[in-house]
Symmetry: C2
Subunit: 403 residues, 2 copies
């Protein structure tokens, strides 16, 4: 059960971007698992990918294709098999899947970006691509974002998508994005498969800058289980159909909208975390620098003992001190630290507050949305990240995933 998250009822289309999803039976039966996204000629694309060194074959190929200076025309996505840990053979399969599509669509192989998500360490079959891509080509249409959001799911329980419209110079720009992922989530660039499209015109290198900035405080500010996937990929497309060009002069409003869309998608992933019963915001304030604040926030967020206490709604704040104290930061001054659960203060300058009662703590922990706030009182930087709890259900899902 995701925490305060429902699948969108519909997702606004973006001119110049069309999508389809078909049943290819790559691993799953009776549901769509092959998704195609087509970008109109003239669009630009920016991407960020996992930093996992055992990255999947499609990630390697995406990077290579983006480096050719061919502007991507198609994104080819399959769910159920990650094509990771598959060696040279896996890379060849990924290339061949691009070639099959390129031939059908009469584009260059390098104009196709491939993406895979699912089980690691199994060879991806090529047959389902050969058989089903013609149908996927036929069914491409602009009003298919929700269908695509469903088609890329693996252990996700709800489809994730958000949309936003902004006005620049009297023109409307539509931004729509979808994402999937609920386990193996601590993105180190982006999270497992997210696609955001907009109809503005944005020169490719500026689009990449905008994406990098948006990712820092969204996809790169979440963790479910500290495990960085081999397949994380986030693509931002500007289809250039809305007759507005984004430049460094009018960038700000566009940047804010992209930030918001990225943040909502990243939060949706945490809300649908495997086995999650809580959505947790961790704020670390008054730190010497942002990396310092992030290290403490992530140490709290990754701690299995903090996460099991969250699952139990147990105001066992000693575990928060433990996690703060074991963070790999220099010169932490525990006698300056203050700590809050929601609005309830637990610690002031390192000392437990006499006014704090277990009942207050219990009230905060009973909530589905919990904020943990740490003030270090040794600087002006802060960091905010989002995480989930660790439940029986997380263990069940991940002990049974392949069976």
């Amino acid at each position: 059960m995701p925490v305060n998250l429902q699948a969108p009822i519909s997702l606004p289309l973006v001119k110049g971007i069309s999508l389809s999803a078909v049943e290819a039976n790559i691993r799953y039966q009776g549901r769509n698992d092959l998704v195609l996204i087509k970008i109109a000629r003239g669009g630009t694309t920016a991407g960020v990918f996992t930093l996992n060194k055992f990255c999947a074959a499609p990630v390697t190929l995406c990077r290579a294709h983006l480096n050719t200076n061919q502007s991507p025309r198609y994104l080819l996505i399959n769910a159920g098999n990650a094509n990771a840990g598959t060696g040279e053979k896996g890379l060849k399969t990924a290339k061949q899947s691009c070639s099959i599509l390129a031939e059908l669509a009469q584009v260059e192989t390098e104009e196709v970006l491939p993406f895979s998500t699912g089980v690691i360490g199994e060879q991806l079959p090529l047959q389902p691509f050969a058989i089903n891509l013609p149908k996927a080509m036929e069914q491409l249409k602009e009003d298919n974002w929700l269908l695509a959001a469903k088609g890329i799911m693996t252990t996700d329980t709800v489809a994730k998508g958000v949309s936003q419209q902004i006005n620049i110079n009297g023109k409307t720009i539509t931004i729509t994005g979808i994402a999937k992922g609920s386990g193996m989530i601590e993105p180190n660039m982006a999270t497992l498969l997210a696609y955001i499209g907009c109809d503005a015109k944005v020169e490719a290198s500026l689009l990449q800058q905008i994406l990098n900035e948006a990712v820092a405080d969204s996809f790169n500010a979440i963790t479910i289980d500290a495990d960085t996937s081999t397949n994380d990929s986030l693509i931002l497309i500007a289809s250039a159909q809305a007759d507005v060009e984004i430049t460094s002069n009018n960038r700000e409003i566009f940047q804010q909208a992209i930030n918001a869309v990225c943040q909502q998608l990243a939060q949706a992933i945490v809300r649908d975390a495997e086995g999650a019963t809580k959505f947790v915001t961790i704020d670390v304030e008054s730190a010497p620098d942002k990396a310092y604040a992030r290290e403490i926030a992530y140490t709290i967020a990754r701690s299995p003992l903090v996460k099991t206490a969250l699952f139990a709604s147990d105001p066992n704040w000693g575990r928060l001190l433990m996690a703060i104290g074991r963070s790999q930061v220099d010169a932490l001054e525990v006698n300056k630290i203050s700590l809050w659960l929601g609005e309830t203060q637990l610690l002031e300058a390192g000392e437990p507050l006499a006014s704090y009662s277990e009942e207050q703590g219990q009230m905060e922990m009973d909530k589905e949305e919990i904020t943990i706030r740490v003030a270090l009182n040794k600087g002006n930087s802060h960091a905010r990240i989002w995480t989930s709890d660790l439940s029986h259900e997380y263990v069940r899902i991940n002990a049974e995933y392949r069976s």
Copy 2:
């Protein structure tokens, strides 16, 4: 159920070290929870403690007392309450508990080292010490190691103790050690409460050197849940009763024995890890340096997805690649890496082995003791660490711990 670990039937005494355990009802009812260890005059003591910056009051006090150059005469240990996150009041309580004992025993307060283990963030009551220490003093005897091992337990399911005898210059030296701990275990100096005694004579600074060396590949080579406790303390006592002095000249055989005792105690903690069903050895070989090898070994050992696959006996080796690939090391060359599960090779120079079958992997994963071996083929250093799996039972124990 611990993995291939039984409580010792008896533990050999060490001349010059006497112990007792009494029921003080600090948190637990109907079991011993207050343990006293007395060291004969002339003995020396070395200690290592947690690097958690929110360290417990007794840890702060142990460090201070060891720095006074008073040779410790008593170790005072309670289970059920960690006296951590308790601020100035907690520190005062710890001091007062030492003073009560010091008065009874007619020693200086600084000759008492205090230790606490249990729930974090609750004030430790002083009354149980005042009431029960006289009885604990009366009951001190040398042949009480096993009783003490039971008295320091919290979520442990079996008492942990090992012993070894060595011969130096025709004289026998007895080394006996006990430990407790099964959750919040990734020691960063030592693990939650371990006490090792021997009857050799060892000058204090040499004893500390020997302990530091032994800890590196024992207590500092295990992780259960990546969470470093606020209370970790390991004490090595040399009672100087065996008429053998250890010096830098005859150190080696003694060092090896202390290493072995530390390693067996550290492994016992992992075998009794909360909810553990597997005992896992991780070897990372042919690394540029030891820190590099350790980072990869620990990343595998901490990964919730690797740990849930271990729990499920699922040869889902893609998760091993994921963990290796997300390790924070420079210049990892995935196309040089070979990987084994037990004797079964999975990967050769980054490529999946054609000869590998899922049945072989399953056979290895069905075992209770599993070895994961990674060869990086880029140097001559190696690291070995031990860990456990992540089970439903771990979540249950830690969601219910305070209730």
